[in-house]
């Protein structure tokens, strides 16, 4: 069991939070939604811990819960974005140019949710297959097949023969 106090929260926000928000942005399609989901998950973990609930791993717990929050809010976020767009509001995705995002983002967007999440957990957050399986609540075998499908689709979309060749060999 992990002690969750102010020191632990600050450490988490300094070390894990930046990358987790980045990864969740790829899943949710919105940096603002990702930040909100991760912050909410951290707050819930903290509040639960104060009430005596055991949280074995703050990173695993927050990753799982923030993914759940992002999923349940996807439709709502879309509605919000439409509303803001209609009102000429200011929210914009940060940093990268449209050219940077075109291929990978659009290819990623065509993936089913679980494949997209597994891809981000595996390749963006650097989790191993077992960790991916634990976070997504699936067996390691299921995680492997999910990653296989995702990699095959992405390599086909991106025209990466190296990726495709490895996928053909079942290297997930």
């Amino acid at each position: 069991m992990e002690l969750i106090d102010e020191v632990a929260i600050r450490e988490f926000l300094h070390t894990v939070y930046p990358r987790l928000v980045g990864g969740l942005s790829l899943v949710a399609g919105s940096r603002a939604a990702a930040e909100d989901a991760v912050q909410e998950a951290v707050a819930r973990a903290w509040e639960r811990s104060e009430r005596g609930e055991e949280i074995a791993s703050l990173t695993a717990w927050v990753t799982t819960v923030s993914l759940n929050l992002a999923r349940s809010r996807m439709r709502r976020v879309a509605a919000e974005r439409r509303a803001r767009s209609r009102l000429g509001s200011r929210e914009r995705s940060p940093s990268h140019s449209p050219e940077d995002r075109v291929d990978v983002t659009r290819a990623l967007a065509t993936l089913p949710r679980r494949q997209r999440e597994a891809t981000v957990l595996r390749f963006y957050l650097g989790m191993d297959v077992k960790e991916v399986a634990d976070v997504l609540g699936m067996s390691e075998g299921a995680a492997k097949t999910t990653l296989f499908r995702a990699r095959r689709a992405l390599s086909r979309a991106l025209g990466d023969s190296d990726l495709e060749e490895a996928n053909d060999r079942g290297e997930a």
């Binding site: 926000l13 300094h14 939070y17 930046p18 942005s25 790829l26 399609g29 940096r31 603002a32 930040e35 909100d36 912050q39 909410e40 951290v42 707050a43 819930r44 509040e47 439709r75 709502r76 509605a79 919000e80 439409r82 509303a83 803001r84 009102l87 990268h96 940077d100 995002r101 075109v102 983002t105 659009r106 290819a107 967007a109 065509t110 993936l111 089913p112 949710r113 981000v120 963006y124 650097g126 609540g137 299921a142 097949t145 999910t146 296989f148 499908r149 689709a153 390599s155 086909r156 979309a157 025209g159 990466d160 023969s161 190296d162 060749e165 490895a166 053909d168 060999r169 079942g170 997930a172």
Partner: protein
């Protein structure tokens, strides 16, 4: 392998740099304090339950397991048979299955050998007798064929060719395939001989070949564009020419007039299904919006439907996007063509047999279901008959009840119109089932019958779906259908025309939703208010508010009779911001 991981990691991290943690601690503290307040306020009051309501649905959703294919209008020469698809096995293999078109009677067609073996890309021969597919393993990837009953499996290509995505020619004599990113698009005879190139690969990755019905051309995708080429490799044409739009996975319609494909536009996570003419004109939208991402679409043999892969499940829709409904969990669907007179499938709603009691089977469903929760006393028919409604989590193909269901498996709503303890119809259209259940029943349209309201989601903003029973029990035509939004809807508030109606009530970080009602029970108008607060912190002077007013038509959709979206200062109260009491007979906030 390590190099490939690094390459993918580098690509993704280039897209989304890490977030700046400045100010995050303060926002977390504020959220924690808010949760403390909410918990104190809700202590002993808020029971997370869920219910789904019922209201009439004109577009007929829910026919997931309905007997027969009565809505299908067969073409003269071909009918729709079984659906082949692939599943992820718990042991890490991918396997090909087939089912009846109504989703019943799944059975395995391939049995991948031990080791990491992936059987994918199923494609039916034109006579419906054979399935071609790709098998990937440590040796490479090959095209195989197998009889429709799973027998007589044989390998057609050498693994070194990386042959995959097989597609039968309309006369069944040839098979086109892609080669990953190696040698482009190729064709061969149906026995695996006579391999020749059609579209060579030049540092790109042409794939997803699909034949024109006259057998003279192939459509395929390459580098985010759609192309058509003659089978002899001549007359190459780019159908799309859209550098800022990604197009892929073409599928030629049986009548030759349309090509369906997936289209991703603006990097906001959307991925939609469209169709285009074979000359590259007349682009038409099929499905997307809140249904996004949609991965691929293939045609039914009679051309009346598209099978669409979405969120690890197979859906069916008309080519104009109507009648969109979930069939079952799975990937890569392909619909068997049945030349007339070959055979007929007769789906049944008779409960399956099981050696052990199963929650779903016990109430007469044709599939197993875990964690069934029920509600009794619903007057669906307005004749005093009291029925029941259940919700639960259908058991996935692996046969194990999931600890926490995922939308990929769908969530079941079953109803007993008569009160005899047996489900008469069911639907798998709940979006979330972390604590789902029948919530309440009320007469939303004033026709004397009750609609069922089912909650499908948790956290602190439950979502409610509304279901109605249509048809007549006496003649066996009674059906449970989820209500959709009638045109023009209120897109700014998330109510796209044709989409399932989802009501929401409650609050969470940045969100406050309210439901109120006027004129109940004589002429009820239900008002949904959605308030989107700005992110916490500086600059939170205004919020966006959407107000949508619905009336529910008997046997039809929810019609928007008032819609407005505006921005207001946060120091002003949200209109209609009630937090309790019944709305149109239902306490959404209990």
């Amino acid at each position: 392998m390590a190099r490939l991981d690094e390459r993918m990691t580098r690509e993704l991290r280039r897209l989304e740099p890490p977030a700046d943690p400045a100010g995050a601690y303060e926002r977390v503290v504020a959220k924690r304090e808010r949760r403390r307040i909410i918990r104190r306020a809700q202590h002993g009051v808020l029971a997370f339950v869920v219910v789904v309501g019922t209201v009439a649905g004109v577009f007929g959703l829910n026919r997931v397991f309905r007997a027969g294919t009565d809505a299908i209008v067969p073409e003269e020469t071909v009918e729709n048979g079984l659906i082949a698809y692939t599943v992820n096995r718990p042991d890490g293999q991918i396997q090909i299955f087939v089912r009846e078109a109504d989703g019943t009677n799944p059975r395995a067609i391939t049995d991948p050998p031990a080791g990491e073996t992936y059987d994918s890309d199923p494609a039916w021969s034109p006579d419906g007798s054979t399935i071609a597919f790709a098998r990937s393993n440590a040796h490479g990837v090959s095209v195989f064929v197998v009889d429709a009953d799973g027998r007589n499996q044989r390998e057609l290509t050498d693994p070194s060719l990386s042959a995959q995505e097989p597609a039968w020619s309309p006369d069944g004599s040839m098979i086109a395939f892609s080669t990953g990113c190696h040698d482009g698009i190729m064709v061969m005879r149906a026995d695996g001989t006579g391999v020749r190139s059609v579209v060579p690969s030049e540092n790109d990755c042409p794939g997803s070949p699909t034949w024109s019905p006259d057998g003279t051309s192939l459509a395929f995708n390459n580098d985010g564009e759609l192309f058509v080429v003659g089978v002899d490799g001549t007359d190459l044409r780019n159908l799309t020419n859209t550098s800022q739009v990604y197009e892929a996975n073409p599928a030629w319609s049986p009548d030759g007039d349309r090509i369906a494909f997936v289209r991703a536009v603006d990097g906001d996570g959307s991925s939609e299904i469209w169709t285009i003419s074979p000359t590259g004109t007349d682009l038409r939208f099929v499905a997307g919006g809140e249904l996004s991402p949609l991965f691929s679409a293939v045609w039914s043999p009679d051309g009346q439907y598209l099978l669409i892969e979405h969120d690890e499940a197979v859906f069916r829709a008309r080519p104009d996007g109507s009648d969109f409904q979930r069939l079952f969990a799975g990937f890569e669907p392909a619909w068997q063509p049945l030349p007339r007179g070959i055979t007929e499938t007769t789906p049944t709603k008779t409960p399956a047999t099981s050696p052990e009691p199963e929650a779903g089977l016990d109430i007469g469903l044709a599939f197993r279901m875990c964690d069934v929760s029920s509600m009794g006393g619903i007057d669906f028919l307005g004749d005093g008959t009291r029925g029941s409604a259940w919700t639960g989590i259908p058991v996935p193909d692996g046969g194990i009840c999931p600890k926490l269901a995922t939308p990929a498996e769908g969530y079941g709503v079953a109803v007993d119109f008569t009160g005899d303890g047996t489900a008469d119809d069911w639907s798998r259209t709940i979006d979330y089932c972390m604590a789902c259940g029948p919530w309440d029943a009320t007469d939303l349209n004033g026709d004397g019958t009750e609609e069922l309201i089912v909650v499908g989601q948790l956290w602190s903003v439950p979502d409610y779906g509304v279901y109605v029973v249509t048809g007549n029990l006496a003649d066996g035509s009674a059906r449970l259908e989820r209500v959709r939004v009638a045109a023009p809807g209120h897109p700014e508030a998330g109510y796209e025309p044709g989409a399932f109606l989802t009501l929401s009530a409650g609050g969470d970080a940045g969100i406050s939703d309210y439901i109120s009602c006027q004129g109940y029970p004589d002429s009820p108008v239900l008002t949904q208010v959605k308030s989107f607060h700005p992110p916490d912190g500086p600059g939170s002077e205004t919020r966006t508010v959407s107000i949508t007013r619905f009336v529910f038509e008997s046997g039809g959709p929810a019609r928007v009779v008032g819609a407005e979206t505006f921005e207001q200062p946060t120091d002003q109260p949200v209109p209609y911001a009630n937090q309790g009491g019944k709305a149109c007979g239902v306490d959404f906030f209990r």
